[in-house]
């Protein structure tokens, strides 16, 4: 057991120092941290702009007071807008990291080196995938929750957690697994980068293009959009049910994808 944990740790440490070494990881985390605050507050300010009649003159200090009042009274909407924007950022970073971690190592032959040591393929897979989730969803979740607490400290706990799961974890899991599957099948960095990227952006943008898309389908491919619908539909119970069902289905698809990807990874000729 100790040996297994040691090897998992070893893979993560090596991956961190190779794929996520300076400047990539540092820049990535810094961007995530900044954006979490920026997106939350900018969306608050953006929404507020349309609430204040432009004809009424306000002083700067008055605007700040109004802004603070608005963000606390409309905190859900502010958050939802922010987190929806966030999904675009993740759509970019998730396939990039998955392609780098798997596609590049397969492409360059580094997997052959790793698997010459007493490391099982399953450990290698889970260590790398866990690191992607930790880097993308873990860091953003922390920064998001910090931003959230500063914005609306009295929010009920369950809703922010749902937002967090829907936006920062479910799509990341799905997109990273799909990108890894592309990397394993194509054994190419560029194919996994473009394939994963296209899939990721497609899922983010399609609810925008197809406005009439069913909420359940939206929740499966881009839960953040579905959350937006829920909030802007004035918290309809029906929409919430669709959102929850979509998230569960999305996680189910990810589980299926995990099984297929793992099987392919274990059978891959290196």
């Amino acid at each position: 057991m100790n040996n297994r944990l040691n090897r998992l740790k070893s893979i993560m440490v090596l991956d961190l120092s190779t794929h996520y070494s300076f400047p990539l990881a540092e820049i990535l985390v810094a961007i995530m941290m900044m954006l979490s605050f920026y997106l939350i507050y900018s969306n608050g300010a953006f929404s507020l702009y349309f609430e204040i009649p432009p004809s009424i003159p306000y002083t700067e200090s008055q605007i700040i007071v109004i802004y603070e009042q608005w963000t606390s009274s409309h905190s859900f909407r502010t958050l939802a807008s922010a987190i929806w924007d966030y999904s675009f950022i993740l759509a970019f970073f998730t396939p990039m990291l998955a392609a780098l971690s798997f596609g590049r190592d397969i492409d360059a032959g580094t997997f052959r080196t790793y698997l010459s040591y007493p490391i099982s393929r399953r450990h290698l897979f889970f260590a790398k995938e866990a690191l992607i989730l930790a880097i993308v969803s873990g860091t953003t979740s922390i920064s998001f929750l910090i931003g959230l607490l500063s914005l609306a400290p009295n929010l009920e706990v369950s809703f922010p957690l749902l937002l967090c799961l829907a936006t920062l974890w479910t799509p990341t899991l799905f997109v990273s697994l799909a990108t890894i599957l592309i990397a394993i099948t194509s054994k190419s960095l560029s194919a996994s980068l473009f394939g994963g990227g296209a899939l990721s952006f497609g899922s983010v943008i399609s609810p925008l293009i197809f406005q009439s898309m069913d909420t359940l389908l939206v929740a499966i491919i881009n839960p953040a959009s579905a959350i937006m619908r829920y909030i802007f539909d004035e918290y309809s119970v029906y929409t919430l049910q669709s959102v929850l069902a979509g998230i569960i289905i999305s996680l189910g698809i990810s589980a299926l994808l995990l099984i297929i990807t793992l099987k392919r990874f274990e059978a891959m000729e290196i």
Partner: protein, 305 residues
Amino acid sequence: MVEPIVQVEKLIKNFGTLRALDGLSLDIGRGVFGLIGPNGAGKTTLLRILLGLIQGDGGTAEVLGLDVQNESIQIRERVGVLHERPTYPKGLTPVGFLHWVRSTYGKGSDPEEILKLVGLSSAAHRKIGNLSAGMTQRLGIAQALVSQPELVFLDEPTSNLDVVGKEEVTQLIINLHDELGVSFVVASHVLSELERICDSVAFICDGVIVEKGKTLDLIRRYTTNRYRVTTNEPRQLAPLLEKIPGVASVRVTGINSLTLSSNLEPSSKLEHEIQDAALHRGIRVLAVFKTSTLEDTYLVVMSNE
């Protein structure tokens, strides 16, 4: 043979329509073993199967008494490997990487000591991405040794090394085997090195073992009547020699040499016949002497295939 450390039985491996291993059977005992064959013969495929990196389509293989399909992790805990064209994390230093390798095994030698052993101490703290090809090869040998393995697979260990480097690696293998009892399976094209270090060798061609045995036995068996002729015109001389009764398998082996088999006794009679044939065409024959190298053995064996 006493207690084989590698046992391969009727191993088959296909890549699409290409049959890379065609019912290959081989037993390897402790010591230094050479796996010799042309490019695409199946050497690397065999090593990859023995490490569990790919699976065979038929047959069985065991390393250190462990099944390669079901116990590959246990095998890799006890063996070291240097791949052909290896890739290591470019951002790390050799010493940092060896520390990582040691932590992965959970045991092993001091990385600084191993780097000293392979002559890489001076570049221990340089980024791997900045190492020369020869230095990377040395690092490859170092990482194969860091876990103090019982058996080491080396795929083309001296490629990318200069003459001095080749000599050092050859000497290192001899020392490690003599002093620590480490066994090696070496796949290589450089037959002169294999001849010096290998107790036994196997010739592999088109996915099957065509000959195997103790190195000296094979050389003796295949080169008893084998001669090398040095001349200024080997291409013109070859057809003339083929006409001499008792001379066979004439092969041009270089711009000033050819080899042949002869049962003419004594050998002075053969030299006289050769000089005589050359004289008529104004060809100079500089020397005729018996050959007894692994390279000659290899050429004879492969020409029979």
